[in-house]
Symmetry: C2
Subunit: 371 residues, 2 copies
């Protein structure tokens, strides 16, 4: 695991988790750019170099996916427009990347893998359109959310449309078990989102409950991406299981880092408002860790956070300070690091090669991402 | 077409479109009851008798569907609860009835037909959960809408969950073309809903534009129900086309009657608030007809109905009076009657028998429904 750095190395000289301003220059369309620069600016040159190699390796795969996403949802209705709006602002495309790399551990980026890679991003986009309505989110990927531009209703219909478009592509890929698994995953996603909703403002949410939601709402789709890529690349048996396990751990790590970015990220880089989750009363991982480490944070949560109660700005500020404290961020990132380490160890059962090596880089970059 | 009565017979002695109060006693769980009583109370004894026969004919099919719907969505999350809430209050189950009858024009109500019949009601329920959020609907099937009980977010997640549950059942039925068609139909539904949304408050909506939306948002699912039932019952070729054509015309007729019930129905019977569509600025069929017949209604629409503008109670009252005028209602019902007549004529290509005869009764009952 020599490529994993100690989590304290993620902190700047002042001990704060501060992505380098250079990261702001990253073009939204640049699929690997954000991961790569995220590493480069912290001196993780070896990883940045490996991600650069990955770009050369996957170049046309990613272009194909991006090209297909750019033309998906062509149409004049409000459902089409809200879908296009979200797809056009780009994104990390990490889930399609997982599909492409999993497929390349086998026979390669087949036409079926291409469809599945597009589909996983469309399902992700569908959940974002619905989540923004649920959370009343105003910004997404640095621009106004589709619901702000076209309205809540358009965002709901856009999400429905994308979901069905994705399922159509999966069906057309001709791997029935991959379709069945996706239907199960969407249910998992929805139930986890509903669970998270029900737990909003419940200060007593445990670490176990947190991971239950993270597995359902985030890891399930990463796991599917790896499974789908494996199946499209003709990979099965132990290697397929290993790729799935990679996706699952990577997904939970991704969510933990996401939570850290909510309290300690730079909104100009993440493209989301800071403290969004906190204001919504979501029990994010840094909050759970902060409350475990400091009884006064636990009391603050117990006294001021309740379902349907608005949290005052003063309390938000105190919670944000507690959750973004260097020791808390370091502990959260240590958890993410453990998960990324476990993900990388799973790959032992996968034949070595450029694809496996690229997956290792993805895990490291996920840990070090700034958006 | 001797079973079709003149549309004026639907009017009460005072010329108003008034379902008999006896219809209020109909149990929500009674699948055929509402159609049957709707006919019985207007003296359409022959039709009521035929619907009674249909009940005997389909008895266990409907019980199976109802039993499956009662246990679908078992779970504790808010997504499950909102789905259960809607399914538990019952409904006309007209779409599953179409699947069952189409299947029975062939080899019968096969296990695949059963799954498809359940699935079509689940898709319908999913669209209702999302539509109620879009329309801010407060009542559905006579009780508080799921979004009122569990919130908008739960209603969105519940809709997503039901959609995927339905698609899983269709996939399990093992007829790939039926699944592909449903994916296409859901897109049609969503795009039509989005189109309707964009046209809200647009007083100039034409008759053609109205039928375009009605075909997309309502008839597409009826058409699918007939196609799915036919395929599950081993019916293809001309007979399958004929059953689809039946579904399509029936669906548009159903929507026209729905619009009439919005202005001239009894909310205690329909289970929805009266004038709902009108308040939302939807250009329903009675409004379009009223504006065609009377230039003063057209001026009223042009002067007071605009996108995003609230319509005053005084204008609502005048529009409601115009749209529920006996001559307007009669003209709307004449259109619905033509459509039901065309639907019944399509059945000429279907082998005669109890199932075909039952489909004819469904068309007649759709025309005469009071909820």
């Amino acid at each position: 695991m020599s490529i994993l750095v100690g989590s304290t190395e993620l902190l700047d000289p002042h001990g704060a988790y501060a992505p380098h301003p250079a990261a702001r220059a990253i073009a939204a369309r640049d699929v690997l750019g954000s991961l790569e620069s995220g590493c480069g600016v912290r001196g993780l040159d070896a990883t940045a170099e490996r991600l650069g190699e990955m770009r050369a390796f996957l170049g046309s795969d990613l272009d194909e996916i991006e090209g297909a996403l750019a033309t998906t949802g062509a149409g004049e209705s409000l459902a089409h427009r809200s879908a296009q709006h979200l797809l056009a602002v780009g994104g990390k495309r990490l889930r399609p990347l997982c599909v492409a790399l999993a497929a390349r551990t086998g026979v390669g980026f087949t036409p079926a893998a291409r469809e599945l890679a597009i589909a996983v991003e469309l399902v992700h986009a569908a959940t974002l359109l619905h989540d923004d309505v649920v959370d009343l989110g105003e910004k997404r990927r640095g621009v106004d959310a589709a619901r702000i531009v076209y309205g809540n209703a358009a965002s709901i219909f856009g999400g429905d449309w994308l979901l069905v478009e994705a399922l159509g592509r999966i069906r057309a890929a001709g791997l029935p078990d991959v379709l069945d698994r996706m239907l199960g995953v969407i249910k998992e996603l929805v139930v986890a989102e509903a669970l998270q909703l029900a737990r909003r403002g419940r200060a007593g949410t445990s670490r176990d409950e947190y991971f239950e939601v993270a597995r359902g709402k985030t890891a399930s789709l990463f796991r599917w991406a790896m499974f789908a890529g494996a199946r499209a690349g003709g990979v099965d048996g132990r290697a397929c299981d290993a790729l799935e396990a990679f996706g699952s751990d990577l997904g939970v790590a991704f969510q933990v880092v996401d939570d850290v970015l909510d309290v300690a990220g730079d909104s100009d880089v993440t493209g989301k408002s800071v403290l969004c989750d906190l204001r919504e009363g979501k029990m994010t991982y840094p909050l759970i860790v902060a409350a475990e480490r400091d009884p006064s944070v636990r009391r603050l949560l117990d006294d001021h956070v309740a379902p349907d109660a608005e949290i005052s700005d003063a309390v938000i500020a105190r919670l944000a300070a507690a959750a973004s404290a260097p020791a808390v961020v370091a502990q959260c990132l240590a958890t993410a690091e453990e998960l990324c380490g476990a993900a990388i160890r799973s790959l032992d059962a996968v034949p070595p090669g450029r694809a496996r090596s690229a997956l290792e880089s993805v895990a490291v970059a996920t840990l070090h991402r700034s958006k």
